[in-house]
Symmetry: C2
Subunit: 101 residues, 2 copies
């Protein structure tokens, strides 16, 4: 059993908000790693090649989730995060590919 | 005779800086109009369908130019601005098309 944290529906994903969420080097790196793996990954700093504290990474995951770029879901004590590739490709075709290339 | 205001060379255009420059509704609207016209346009508010003061628009043009998104050139007392489409398409293929669609 898992529950998904609040996120905008596909049609409510806003371009300016997404661009703001993408416009950060740490978030871009995390997203590139997520895109490469193509599956949910744990929300923990050791999973990503970034040099930030856990609280900072949590903030970044929140920005991404609230913008509609990622889904976060909770299973027991663990949080997982996944790129909303299908939703983003539907709303803004080509954007993720161009930014994460 | 015209002179071009300072701008980053093509290879120095930075993705995070470009995303920050794009992440604004007024700048997106101005860029869409520039992309539609496909030619240099005067740096004056009456040329764009945006409700901002001249000083604010000047700020937006500066952000776009410094990010490498547009070129500004000066002819006598007039300023013109042009989208750096070829440079951006070279650096980040598909980005402008996805954002200005």
């Amino acid at each position: 059993m898992s529950r998904t944290l609040p996120q905008p529906s596909t049609e409510d994903i806003d371009l300016v908000t997404v661009l703001r969420a993408l416009a950060d080097p740490v978030r871009l790196e995390v997203l590139r790693e997520m895109a490469a793996s193509g599956e949910p990954s744990p929300c923990s700093a050791e999973n990503y090649d970034v040099d930030v504290k856990a609280a900072t990474l949590s903030h970044h995951f929140r920005v991404l989730r609230e913008a509609g770029v990622t889904t976060t879901f909770v299973e027991g004590r663990r949080r997982w995060v996944e790129l909303r590739r299908a939703d983003l490709d539907k709303r803004f075709p080509g954007l993720l590919d161009s930014v994460l290339a």
